[in-house]
């Protein structure tokens, strides 16, 4: 009984503030040889790493593969999104690259492919985050 009341109170308070965790890790490419890795969710950063970024030109479009590696024994349910920019760093207008679901198995590597929507798109950023679960929503 003594345990149940605080537990229910926590559930009650948590239920009213269900905002999903949307931070993750990202990589931004500023030029052909300069990339910046950003970890805004250290917990995910421990379980996941971006180990390689390769770019090339395919049919006059920038073609990119980003290699992700899992540093965790269990499967991870993730989602990723590419955003494309022109040579001046402006986001490509009207390009709505969707979040895509990704199941990464324990200690596995995976290549995420991205293709520029137009020949103006020269640099990109890739964001990876966890699919938010209800357990995460109760955390601050």
């Amino acid at each position: 009984m003594k345990i149940l009341i605080p537990l229910l109170s926590v559930c009650l308070l948590a239920a009213c503030s269900s905002r999903p965790v949307t931070s993750g890790i990202s990589v931004e490419q500023h030029s052909h040889y300069q990339q910046q890795l950003k970890v805004s969710n250290p917990e995910l950063g421990k379980k996941l790493a971006i180990i390689d970024v390769k770019t090339r030109q395919t049919n006059e479009l920038t073609d990119v593969v980003v290699t992700l590696t899992s540093q965790y024994k269990k499967s991870q349910y993730l989602q990723y999104q590419f955003t494309w920019y022109d040579k001046d760093g402006f986001v490509i207008k009207g390009n709505h690259s969707p979040w895509q679901a990704l199941n990464l198995f324990g200690f596995a590597n995976i290549q995420l492919p991205g293709l520029a929507p137009t020949s103006n798109a020269v640099t990109f950023s890739l964001a990876v985050r966890e699919v938010s679960t209800q357990a995460q929503e109760f955390e601050d």
């Binding site: 009984m1 395919t58 895509q100």
Partner: protein, 209 residues
């Protein structure tokens, strides 16, 4: 005796508090209607049926595959081929607006600047407008667009969407396969084809939250 009474009162109070909290927890925030804008690109998992995320995934993967294909590279090197979208046959058991998928694909291909499209869905409207321009006395004949000047499509884009659905008491599984082809209308050859798959599973949650 006194201690027993105190114990009983405490138990009653905690019981009441528990009931009160449970009611609050269950009804809690559910009574308040909240309207908010969501991310149109976010992953949507409301149910197992074909949804916005599947549509976006299919459209983006097909466009990427078409634009990165070596055959398309040769085809679009010096010219912008003219394409018409036939349709995507819906062979699933669901009602799916396949025109919405082809709209997304043709928009993304047009935006890439490598293809041009003719819209077969607006032929009648164009004909009506040209008839008006050429036969109605209201229009200056010098500015009327003449008949017989439209350009014919060189390629046809078409495809199929099929699904396999399986379920039992605890689990439901759906598998979608989307196939797309580009045919050269002159030779009848299929110049490009690709397919993409989607698997969605619904299982009963361990916590019935």
């Amino acid at each position: 005796m006194n201690t027993l009474n105190k114990m009983a009162t405490f138990n009653k109070l905690t019981g009441l508090a528990l009931i009160g909290l449970s009611t609050l927890a269950l009804s809690g925030c559910a009574n308040k209607a909240v309207v908010s804008y969501g991310d149109a690109q976010a992953i949507e998992t409301t149910d197992i049926n074909f949804g916005s995320t599947d549509l976006q995934k299919v459209a983006s993967q097909m466009t990427d595959s078409l634009l990165a294909s070596p055959v398309i590279g040769t085809m679009t090197a010096n010219t912008r081929p003219i394409v018409f979208v036939e349709r995507i046959k819906n062979k699933t058991s669901e009602h799916i607006d396949t025109e919405s998928i082809t709209d997304s694909i043709s928009t993304q291909l047009l935006r890439s600047g490598k293809f041009r499209f003719v819209d077969m869905g607006r032929v009648e409207a164009a004909r009506e407008q040209l008839t008006f321009q050429n036969e109605d006395a209201l229009v200056n004949p010098a500015t009327a667009v003449a008949f017989g000047q439209q350009v014919g499509a060189q390629y046809m884009l078409y495809g199929n969407l099929s699904s396999i659905v399986k379920s039992n008491a605890d689990k439901a599984d759906v598998y979608y396969k989307f196939t797309m082809r580009l045919m050269d209308l002159k030779s009848g050859l299929v110049e490009w084809a690709d397919e993409t798959e989607i698997r969605k599973t619904r299982e009963k949650s361990t916590f019935g939250w």
